[in-house]
């Protein structure tokens, strides 16, 4: 039985609601999310823009405040930890950002960027840190003499490698990858994906892999969760979920993915969803997907479907009620 490293229980993250004279509307970015990631596993989180996948990732690394619910890292609630435990948590859990152009400080050299986490956490002597930086550069496939260069001297893929090296500086156990490849060219994407897979094999890191590119997510993930408007609608084994999607949204989403194969693309029947994503300020009652669902029933408007186990999978849809 694999050990869970991260458990999310009924997570809610709301934005807004403040205001001095008039109350600003509440944006329900994540609304009741349950999720478990096991040790040495890659969990892929997919969904369209605005579904709350990045907000979930940012809540895990404590960038976004949790409105309600709990996130447990190794059984400890991350909202209440303090002192040394918090410091350890911040070493263990790291994040790789989407934009390799914006996430590196242009005024720092590569060496300084990668060394900074070790400086902050007071790890090793100056010489040890320097040696570790060189080692990390090697691990991510850059040359040790790149250490004195600045980020602008590197290409997009190389910058993403610098970001990964910085992430690895503290020997993390869990990394939130927030769209790490979507800003990169196709031939470079595969380089970064392979690097992430190698690192996992060697160091036993768990990933939460957030992306909207479904084919890459399927490639790297063990399990996948599909999000829609702040809710998880289906969770299952990556292969199985792609073969037989159960939730109508998963089915539509997968049939929309462009397949790089002209014959399949010609023969395939697409389920084209009508309309657009509703606003998370005022989500539909009951099932959030009902406004676009091709199989909508009366029940869907009144009752929010709970996540239930169907076979090896979890689905939140009234179609699978007993």
């Amino acid at each position: 039985m694999p050990k869970p490293i991260l458990e999310i229980k009924d997570l809610k993250v709301y934005f807004g609601g403040g205001g001095f004279i008039k109350k600003a509307p509440l944006v329900k970015a994540v609304d009741g999310l349950n999720l478990t990631v096991y040790e040495n596993e890659t969990f892929g989180l997919v969904g369209e823009s605005g579904c709350g996948k990045s907000t979930t990732g940012r809540a895990i690394v404590k960038i976004n405040k949790i409105t309600d619910g709990h996130i447990y890292y190794n059984g400890v609630d991350i909202d209440t930890i303090k002192g040394d435990q918090l410091k350890q948590f911040k070493q263990d859990v790291q994040m790789i950002f989407q934009d390799p152009y914006a996430s590196l400080n242009p005024r720092m050299t590569v060496g300084e960027i990668i060394r900074e986490p070790m400086d902050i956490h007071n790890i090793g002597t100056k010489e040890e840190r320097e040696a570790r930086v060189r080692e990390l550069l090697e691990i991510v496939g850059l040359k040790p003499d790149h250490i004195r260069r600045y980020p602008h001297e590197f290409s997009g893929g190389q910058r993403q490698r610098i970001g990964i090296a910085r992430t690895l500086a503290l020997n993390p156990k869990f990394i939130v990858c927030d769209e790490p490849i979507s800003a990169l060219d196709v031939s470079i994407q595969a380089q970064v994906i392979n690097l992430l897979e190698e690192l996992q094999k060697e160091m036993g890191i768990s990933y939460l892999f957030i992306a909207h590119d479904l084919s890459m997510v399927k490639h790297i993930s063990d399990r996948i969760g599909v999000m829609y408007l702040g809710n998880l609608v289906e969770v299952g084994d990556a292969e199985l979920l792609y073969r037989q999607p159960m939730h109508p949204y998963t089915q539509a989403l997968l049939s929309s993915v462009p397949i790089p194969d002209p014959k399949t693309a010609r023969e395939r029947q697409r389920i084209v969803l009508e309309g657009e994503l509703p606003s998370p300020i005022n989500p539909p009652s009951g099932c959030v997907f009902r406004t676009r669902c091709p199989k909508v029933m009366d029940r869907c408007a009144s009752e929010k479907p709970a996540m239930r186990k169907v076979g090896d999978r979890q689905v939140a849809c009234h179609l699978f009620d007993e």
């Binding site: 031939s187 462009p258 397949i259 194969d261 002209p262 014959k263 084209v272 969803l273």
Partner: protein
């Protein structure tokens, strides 16, 4: 006759450090009712090729060589004085040649009503009254699948979602029955379910209108689902060209093969290993005159770093420029 014909087009940008050869000897044709996909990574010259054709290069850019013909009419910059060229192009852009841009949010003017923006090209290029233009605009909006066009006409861009804005841009592109439509990454900024809607629309329109469509993209999935023919660009050159089936099932150029093996196809049962292409694309500044892919190519030979390979014809539609196809290199490519 081909809707658009480009022969030996070369474009250079003058910079402080020397000339950047963004487009190098590019030739292709687009027929009526055909979708030509131009695939390449950033810096491969795919967008600059299109900007050269439309005469929209930035100030330091210049078409140094080549002929461009639209529906038989010559529009090569070298054959006109700069002033004549400008006035010629402004009568052609938006009329014979239309463009669909990547980002629907920045293309539309936020302070003008959708109707105004849609009617403008119709009034500019046709001798019609405002009422006729408005009727045409409503018809266009219906064509691209916008519900209740009469009321939507009086709304502003912020009242439209991303997918709807992209439909408006397509409607503007169709306004004057263009001979050629150039779509630069039209679905990259959209979500997958919305992307599917827009791709369906383009595939559907392709049979209805009398235009040729050029689709610039880096997404091989999009290309496979919509394009009839594909040009693969690398380092400012077209390295391989063929029908969708030829490119996907019988690729010849090591770059095309590399590109196809570093994407994952979710339909495949077995998890295949990704084979990334090592290194990164070449710097087009002062680039040497040999195969642009040679430095990243696993099968590179001595000749590859000495001379530019010649184009070899595999079928009526399939061409590839690689030294491996040379008779003397037999067996090296295996």
């Amino acid at each position: 006759m081909a809707m658009l014909e480009v022969n030996h087009l070369s474009t250079e940008f003058k910079t402080e450090n020397g000339a950047v050869k963004a487009v190098r000897d590019v030739s292709f044709k687009v027929e009526k009712g055909e979708v030509l996909g131009i695939v390449g990574e950033s810096g491969s010259g795919k967008s600059q090729t299109m900007f050269s054709i439309m005469g929209l290069l930035s100030g330091n850019g210049e078409v140094t060589e080549g002929d461009i013909k639209i529906d038989g009419k010559d529009i090569s910059p070298k054959n006109y004085s700069p002033k004549d060229y400008e006035s010629l192009m402004s009568s052609i852009r938006g009329n014979d040649m239309a463009m669909i841009f990547q980002d629907p949010m920045t293309f539309l003017n936020p302070v003008l009503k959708i109707g105004t923006q849609l009617i403008e090209p119709i009034l500019n290029h046709n001798d019609v009254s405002k009422q006729e233009a408005e009727a045409r605009a409503i018809e266009l909006m219906r064509k691209v699948g916008i519900p209740s066009p009469e009321t939507r006409l009086n709304q502003y861009p912020f009242e439209f979602s991303g997918g709807m804005r992209q439909r408006i841009i397509i409607a503007i592109a169709l306004a004057c029955n263009p001979k050629i439509i150039i779509a630069d990454e039209p679905t990259t900024a959209l979500d997958v379910t919305i992307q599917a809607q827009v791709l369906d629309l383009i595939a559907h329109l392709k049979d209805e209108i009398d235009s040729g469509i050029i689709m610039i993209t880096h997404d091989l999935g999009v290309v496979a689902s919509i394009c009839d023919r594909i040009n693969i660009m690398y380092g400012g050159k077209v390295v391989e060209s063929g029908t969708a089936d030829e490119i996907f099932y019988d690729p010849k150029h090591p770059y095309t093969i590399g590109l196809l093996s570093c994407i994952s196809n979710p339909e495949e049962k077995e998890k295949k290993e990704l084979h990334p292409i090592p290194g990164s694309p070449p710097d087009l500044l002062n680039i040497e005159n040999y195969c642009p892919f040679a430095d990243r190519c696993e099968k590179a030979m001595k000749i590859c770093k000495m001379r530019m390979p010649e184009e070899k014809q595999y079928s009526n539609t399939h061409t590839c420029s690689c030294w491996l196809s040379h008779p003397l290199a037999q067996g090296k490519g295996e």
